[in-house]
Symmetry: C2
Subunit: 641 residues, 2 copies
């Protein structure tokens, strides 16, 4: 089953993005976010929480040098998760234990960016960062500034919480992206030496630790490292991490001499062996990173049982735990999935990173078997929850992407302590902005795939692409008008498989096609231009009445975009608005204007039922991802009908 329809994404160096919608955003990442991140981890952003990233690497390099000279190891405490005390010893580690990953995500984004935009200045900065990293590597290959600075002998003693394997995963992904873009091996070589240490340290063999990552990502990173180096042991190590996870006794308890109780370790997806996991649970970012690694391993080893778990986990998300915006992780408690159909709008978490991880998972599932469900969801996430994570000017970011915001509640209701009604400049725990930078600067990898017979167009992003068996160009007006033209120059007879977006009720394709699993398959034997028109229209979307929040309500979509209403356009108390489902929905630039009503504000807290007094109003919708770009105000995706 697994082997039947496999495909592989097309590498970034063979893709040049030329999209009227996405190019602006990619440029923003290149010209705003990447430089901003550089300033951030150098602690040069006024008013932002400190990263300490560069200073930590410099300290670690000093320790590494001292150790090479045979000097004694430092012995600062390694008992906390965050070290923000300005008064603590200057030579000790500062910031979060996983702060190194800021560097690595930046390098990955730089690598992706350099693939398409050679930039000597940027490369020079990257080279400096890479030097810092390489200098911080210990003789045994180990790279982690927290333990190196504070106590190298304590390395690998708190696998559950302290993110060493997570940082290694990001290092690996960064090193690979940079190597792919520049051909320069220094960081990749250092990474391989660290990977070798990890292979020697963790495994089922006598003398090794039977651990697996407390925060997943290592698994998919090792698979990538195998793909770039051909070293099978890296793939096997990834498989080991997947296979070992969730076994009993749980390593996370073994390492702290505790007993494991039934139901423990849901947060880290270590509550069950992975093949028995059929419901998406726990910390949402961890979860989708794990599921991505599971899909990789299922594919490479033809592991049907693992693949079946992946399919069930996908269904669990898509059918019961997915916000209409492509957000996942419904609760801030543990930044986690909640139970089925528990999708609160004003208490959502829907972390930007989690949606990004969902796109990772989608790509891998689609590469195993091309069913349009996967990229339908990826599209939902990309155009809505993920884009919402960044301001229009690329200078501020959302960590959580709620579907309903009342700024008064954010300030006065402590249950919403985690909700900011406007994007923030940077986060001390800065996972989301760099993650945004890396997915947007590698967007092409999520759009196109190929195998021997077929080229897959998963996302209609305008681009010029060199595939193995064809060159093709997409001229896309998809975001705005649902149209695309694909000009394919094949080297041999191939299929072009184009995804039919789930939102399209009516479409036209200029060539003969057959539909399978949501893709239209078009036979191409000579240079062909395929015109696609998916005819987007404003549509009211209902949410399952299993979701208690949304009964009696609807949302508005057009094409890939989910819309929302904002106070600045529609006044305070958005809950007093009702949309007339039989009214007109007029597109006006980026907005949609709908017919509706506004109820008169009630004066009494309770009163005997009577029909509400209401007056007709025009209700203005904007795409969800554009909200909160005009100051602090109320917003809602769902509205009464």
């Amino acid at each position: 089953m697994i082997k039947e329809k496999q495909s592989k994404h097309i590498e970034l160096k063979n893709i040049k993005i030329t999209d009227p919608f996405w190019s602006r955003i990619c440029e923003l990442v290149r010209t705003e976010v990447i430089p901003y991140q550089y300033e951030a981890f150098n602690d040069r952003i006024e008013g932002a929480e400190k990263s300490y990233c560069v200073s930590n690497f410099k300290k670690a390099a000093k320790v590494a040098a001292a150790l090479r000279e045979g000097k004694k190891s430092p012995t600062y405490p390694v008992d906390k998760w965050q070290y923000n005390d300005e008064n603590s010893d200057k030579d000790s580690f500062h910031g979060f234990v996983f702060q190194d990953s800021d560097f690595y995500k930046w390098i990955e984004a730089v690598g992706f960016s350099l693939s398409n935009h050679p930039d000597g200045e940027l490369k020079k900065k990257a080279q400096e960062v890479i030097d810092l990293i390489c200098n911080a590597q210990l003789e045994n290959g180990y790279i982690n500034t927290f333990y190196t600075i504070n106590n190298p002998s304590a390395a690998f003693t708190n696998i559950r919480d302290f993110h060493e394997l997570y940082c290694f995963g990001h290092l690996t992904e960064g090193a690979i992206a940079y190597f792919n873009a520049t051909g320069e091996r220094a960081l990749l070589d250092a990474t391989c030496r660290y990977a070798d240490l990890i292979c020697e340290t963790f495994g089922r063999e006598e003398g090794k630790k039977r651990a697996y990552p407390g925060h997943e990502i290592t698994e998919m990173a090792l698979v990538k490292l195998y793909e770039i180096t051909g070293e099978k042991k890296y793939l096997d190590e990834a498989k080991y991490f997947i296979d070992e996870r969730g076994k009993r006794p749980c390593y996370f308890d073994v390492e702290r001499n505790q007993e494991t109780k039934d139901g423990d370790h849901v947060y880290e997806q270590a509550h069950l062996p992975v093949r028995e996991q059929r419901e998406a649970v726990g910390h949402a970012v961890r979860a989708v990173y794990l599921y991505s690694g599971m899909a990789d391993i299922a594919k490479y080893y033809g592991d049907e049982e693992l693949y079946s778990a992946c399919k069930d986990l996908w269904d669990s998300i898509e059918k019961r735990k997915l916000y209409i915006t492509g957000g996942i992780g419904a609760t801030a408690h543990g930044e986690a999935f909640s139970f089925d159909y528990d999708l609160k709008n004003d208490m959502a978490y829907a972390e930007t990173c989690a949606s990004i991880g969902l796109v990772f998972f989608a790509r891998r599932m689609a590469e195993i078997y091309p069913d349009s469900h996967y990229h339908n969801v990826a599209e939902r996430a990309l155009f809505n929850n993920i884009l919402s994570g960044m301001a229009e000017d690329g200078k501020s970011f959302f960590y959580s992407n709620l579907l309903e915001i009342n700024p008064e509640a954010c300030k006065k209701d402590s249950r919403k302590h985690y909700v900011s009604p406007v994007r923030q400049k940077w986060f001390g725990c800065a996972c989301c902005p760099p993650n945004l930078a890396r997915i947007i600067s590698s967007l092409g990898e999520y759009c196109f795939a190929q195998n021997e017979k077929t080229i897959f167009i998963h996302q209609y992003v305008g681009a010029q692409v060199k595939a193995d068996n064809a060159d093709f160009e997409i001229k896309s007006d998809y975001a705005e008008n649902g149209k695309a033209e694909i000009i394919v120059s094949p080297k041999k007879a191939i299929n072009l498989a184009v995804r039919i977006p789930e939102w399209s009720n009516d479409f036209s394709i200029s060539c003969p096609y057959e539909i399978k699993d949501g893709y239209a398959y078009i036979k191409i034997s000579e240079k062909t231009s395929v015109s696609l028109d998916f005819k987007p229209k404003a549509k009211l979307i209902k949410c399952s009445n299993r979701v208690r929040e949304n009964v009696g309500k609807a949302a508005l979509s057009r094409g890939p975009f989910i819309y929302c209403i904002e106070e600045i356009d529609n006044g305070k108390n958005l809950q007093m608005l009702r949309v007339n489902p039989d009214g007109e929905f007029l597109k006006d630039g980026n907005s949609i204007i709908a017919d509706g009503f506004r109820e008169k504000e009630d004066s009494a807290l309770y009163y005997e039922y009577k029909e509400a007094e209401q007056m007709p109003v025009k209700i203005k919708f904007i795409p969800y991802h554009k909200w909160a770009n005009r100051g602090e105000n109320e917003m809602s995706v769902y509205f009464r009908i």
Copy 2:
């Protein structure tokens, strides 16, 4: 202004409750709850969290005796709020620091109960408990087992958190109730000695601590102690506590050597001087206990500014922060009031004790000026949120009284960790069951009041009552049918003022009357029988559209009762039900049967809008307070219309 219309509740010993609805509940408290509490604080309830109350008093008595003999004080730690470690030193304190109050609330309920039901066995038990308390009193008058057992010299060093003054308040109220019922003074005398110590310790004079209670109640207790003893210094001490509260620097910071910042101490209502407090905020029980004390002081000192604050605080609650069930305190975070109109149904807190405190506040406000708003709200609280706190058999209790429960969410959503979908046997922090016992066993105090000219009927509870200027009997069928007959035998010409319930749109009164401030005033000069019929009917109630939760929804009421729907009657997924507002509402015993629809369950998580498929159903409502008496299931007060 304040002096104009004052009245005073009629004392319990002059009231005999004979109500078809309430007598059963009063009996339940007398025969089930009071004996159950006794077992609870003796730690004889299997499966319940331990109280340690009796054992603490025994230990304290030993220390008191040893100190009298000149032995050294114990020096166990006094740094925690709870001491539940079974392995800790046997002689040290166990349980919560405020555990003594369990005893005192029980004695108060016993006192109330004995007023009407002499019971030699119960009195004997009470006498034993009183002996235990008196034996634990130190020579200087101090009574508090936590500090006495662990370290007497640390007394009064953590006024903010450790509830000494709160326990004193409950001791006082218990001692007074017991004295009123039995005429026995031992506990009252001990209490006065402790009160004297408190007057010597706290005040504005040189050498005294400028503190005020961390958890209010002391204020109203001292007023009661003044009323029973005539000692003005107790009233003045209460006034001192009221006046000092919220001044800067805040004593709670002074005692821990901290700086006070703007906005600190909202939780304890110490964020502003009380006369500047105009919005109900912070811990809801603390708040209404404070406001009750403020009303007492406003009345006794004719303090118009304080009274104006009380009126604004009342409005803040009644108009913007009150659940339809009479619950207050919308958030579990700090068991506190949330901001205006933030009244979530499935995340409510609505603690039983807070509603009880609201009734205390209502009574005091009505005694200053008889406006029906006060007892309308008291009625709402008594018949709904408060009664919901106790199971039909008097054997289990709700602490929180939510308006929407999905048992699955209680188990799987950690944001609802505090929500139990069924009543619990007892609580380690057992404030609510004893508070229920004391308000129900003193119900009469909240029903009737008098002044020179007027007898007030605030609540239509069947009773035989001896007032100063009249005897009267109420034959009440109010709960069930909204009717009452009041037979008044006056000793002189008086007014009978009867409250017109806010739910009554149409009523008849068999005598001539004038209406003022929601009361019908009837002149009575000879024995008269007044028949009242308030003609309850099932009514749909809308909630202000400022409350985001409830737009598009309604609740159902009949007479004083708010109704709800339960899964056991109406199936799972109550959100799929809609009530037809134009349909019939048929009373069927305790239930009301309404016409409505059930939507077909959706299969897709998201789909293009179409009219919901629905089938007509009968929807069964029961009074809110009766819910969760038939096992664990979904419940909702609000429903779609």
